[in-house]
Symmetry: C2
Subunit: 197 residues, 2 copies
């Protein structure tokens, strides 16, 4: 397939869409505002992306780009993961657009689920000491990383915003490492039982 003459316009729309979705979320980001940012007519957005959901799907196409962790000592993976997540968040509007939208749109939440299941899950599966708990371990890592992003980039809690990237990584790394390779939490020994009682 050869390059179309409208590729520049398509790309401009996508950039503007990512910025608006990241800054305002899905509902408050209007097609008119996105089109104005991209200096084109709103109807162009419809022509190239069908409708607002199609535009979002194209703008929020995301990959964590986790590096190969094979050559990293198992007890240093926590640090590597924490740093990678932070780098990924700082430079890319896509993750923020996805998170802001996933809170209110089921389709975006589903994409968020698949990102973590397909990209963090395998890492846990390879490094977790207990294969049966790998999914849970990946899930707990997601809670910590998404929670950190939520507090730092969206809610902007002052003590979390103030942290330098190095400090942030230093706080997060032991938690990630613990969820990944630390002792599993049984949790059912006090008042309940695993799964449904």
């Amino acid at each position: 397939m050869t390059a179309r003459r409208s590729d520049a316009t398509r790309a401009a729309i996508l950039v503007a869409a990512r910025e608006r979705f990241a800054a305002d979320g899905f509902e408050r980001a209007t097609i008119r505002a996105i089109a104005a940012d991209a200096r084109i007519d709103p109807s162009m957005v419809m022509r190239y992306y069908g409708n607002k959901e199609g535009l979002f799907a194209a703008a929020a196409d995301f990959d964590l780009r986790l590096p190969d962790l094979g050559d990293i000592a198992a007890d240093r993976v926590g640090t590597a993961l924490a740093r990678h997540f932070l780098d990924r968040w700082e430079g890319d509007d896509t993750l923020m657009a996805l998170l802001r939208t996933a809170v209110t749109k089921e389709a975006a939440a589903e994409r968020m689920r698949s990102v973590f299941a397909q990209q963090v899950g395998p890492v846990a599966a390879r490094l977790a000491p207990d294969p049966g708990q790998a999914a849970t371990r990946a899930g707990m890592i997601a809670t910590q990383m998404l929670g950190f992003a939520l507090c730092r980039y969206i809610l902007r809690l002052p003590p979390v915003v103030t942290l330098s990237p190095d400090e942030a990584a230093a706080w997060l790394a032991p938690t990630i490492q613990h969820y990944l390779t630390g002792e599993a939490a049984a949790g059912a020994e006090e008042t309940g039982r695993r799964g449904q009682p």
Copy 2:
């Protein structure tokens, strides 16, 4: 001030508003839908709460209701906090309404910030080994608790949804405890420096 005749209506509006805000977020929850749930006219909402933001402010008035932790051993506070947070989330729509809205509305984000600063902050200030790091420790606790709530109740990541409350508390407690009283993360020794370089 004596009880007004309209108190039942006011309360019905508030209940319906909390449910809608919690389920749909601020923008997708319409005054018309809330009024329909409460079986009254939309104009009643305006009369009693001024406008949509006033309604939200009334519906999202929230208190963590942290218990007195004075009589709990310092090394068991993590467990107590984790359990309390979980209880608070399970039973009350208010927190979900607040979180769903805080992601896109600055006023709600500000309320979220003050909730954690004024309610979690003091706990950290009393138990942290290093007073200067108390705010940071409270912030990291917020990242973990809000991240867990985000993944379990809003994004519904399967491995996090599946956990029983006891299992969840067992996973969260060591992390909270570590953020509260564990060794502080220096974090600036590798490539950066604390605060601005």
